[in-house]
């Protein structure tokens, strides 16, 4: 398994940007056929509540661009101090070119900047941090700007109860930079490609380009409507996947780092939903106080932006403190792909949650 250790690399700032439009499961009465009892049950059991979604015409690039601009300005950095851009997204503006290149132009970065996209979802933030650590460790890159965000609301069919009330949109920007302090970091990255069909958008790529045929809507056994152009999720299988790989991945990384659960100040999991978060917490016998869980109920499942959103929304004070905080971050989902990291934060100056100012 791909496990690795780094030193002298730190996170220098994190900003997450969410859209202004808030939706609530309480507004989905029609979607549930007037069954308000089921809505109450979903709120209570799964923790579905509010989510933020973009207006038509706003993309993950816009959200991440706003986050990046705020981050560079709050950190007092010039854009030309960034040596590389990594953009983690599965909802890019175009099939080509990559979002990182478009953002490079928008931010007016110098030409000697590396820029690339990473096609990952809920595990993507951890993978992006890992790549950024590699790039800084290898030398040449003193500072990497990691963007992670998605607008899954644009891919779900509004009449698909298995996904529509779950997903929200969000974009994040994170600085990863070299430091003279030790600042150790540990990573583990894993994949199970045999499960790729459990969570996917079947059409729109080269294997099955979008067409009139792929846009045809069908109704599944549970009465949910979607086309091949929409996001499909086998909820039961993804639940099984999450509760089996996540606890194991966390235990293995802790053993690799050679620390115990009590040595970790916060466990920041991908904010899938409260039920999965609670379940992983229970299985790992973690102190719920150490596990941020509020983010998903306010913003929805934000794919690769959910971990930074939880950090900005729930841990800004803790990470800004003078005492070092040790965090375990862990993302899991589409691929199937999952990854965990243990990072240390001291006196994090910028850790802000912002709203997108203007939408088209």
């Amino acid at each position: 398994m791909a496990k690795s250790t780094f030193q002298n690399v730190r996170v220098g700032g994190v900003v997450t940007c969410v859209p202004t439009l808030e939706k609530s499961i309480d507004d989905c009465v029609e979607l549930f056929g007037g069954n308000t009892k089921q809505i109450e049950r979903l709120k209570k059991t799964i923790g579905l509540d509010k989510r933020r979604v973009v207006a038509e015409g706003t993309t993950a690039l816009d959200l991440c661009s706003a986050a990046a601009t705020h981050l560079l300005s709050a950190a007092g950095l010039n854009a030309d101090s960034v040596d590389a851009l990594i953009f983690v997204t599965q909802t890019p503006d175009y099939l080509q070119p990559c979002n990182a290149a478009v953002l490079h132009g928008r931010l007016n970065l110098p030409k000697n900047t590396a820029a690339l996209d990473v096609n990952l979802g809920c595990s993507g933030y951890v993978y992006g941090l890992w790549l950024a650590h590699l790039m800084v460790s290898a030398g040449g890159c003193g500072r990497v700007l990691l963007l992670a965000g998605d607008t899954l609301s644009r891919l779900v069919h509004p009449k698909d109860r298995s996904v529509a009330p779950l997903f929200g949109d969000g974009g994040s920007a994170t600085l990863i930079e070299s430091t003279e302090s030790k600042s150790p970091a540990w990573f583990s990255l894993e994949t199970d490609g045999t499960g790729y069909e459990k969570l996917m958008v079947p059409a729109g790529g080269m294997r099955q380009p979008s067409s009139e045929a792929t846009a045809v809507e069908s109704v599944d056994a549970d009465g949910n409507v979607r086309s091949l152009d929409n996001l499909y999720m086998d909820g039961a299988e993804i639940f099984n996947f999450s509760i089996s790989v996540e606890p194991q991945s966390v235990e293995e990384l802790l053993a690799y780092v050679d620390v115990e659960k009590k040595d970790i100040d916060f466990f920041v999991f991908h904010q899938a939903n409260r039920y999965i978060l609670g379940n992983i917490t229970k299985r790992l016998k973690l102190d719920p106080e150490k596990v941020p869980m509020q983010t998903v109920e306010q913003y929805g499942n934000q794919s690769s932006a959910s971990i930074p959103c939880a950090m900005c929304g729930e841990l800004a004070d803790a990470l800004g403190a003078n005492e070092t905080k040790r965090l375990l971050l862990s993302g899991f989902g589409v691929g199937l792909s999952w990854g965990s990291a243990v990072l240390e934060f001291t006196d994090l100056k910028v850790c802000d949650l912002i709203k997108l100012k203007s939408e088209q």
């Binding site: 909820g235 099984n240 379940n279």
Partner: protein, 81 residues
Amino acid sequence: MSLEKLITIVSESLETLPEESLSGGTVFKDLKAWDSLAVLTLVDAVDMEFGVLLKKDDFLECVTLAALYERVQAIRRARGN
């Protein structure tokens, strides 16, 4: 483990479903509260109690509670516990 224990778990997982109304012959999909959410909570509860992670297919193939009980036992036997 016992069938009675599984019935208790099903009753608790599906909320508001009295244990007396369930038996080995109970057919899952005939239950009023049986839906995708019920599957999730039951998968979790069975795993926590018996250490067996059921798949969606297990619920399609096992029509009754007794059949599901047999399936869980078979998985445990195959593993040597």
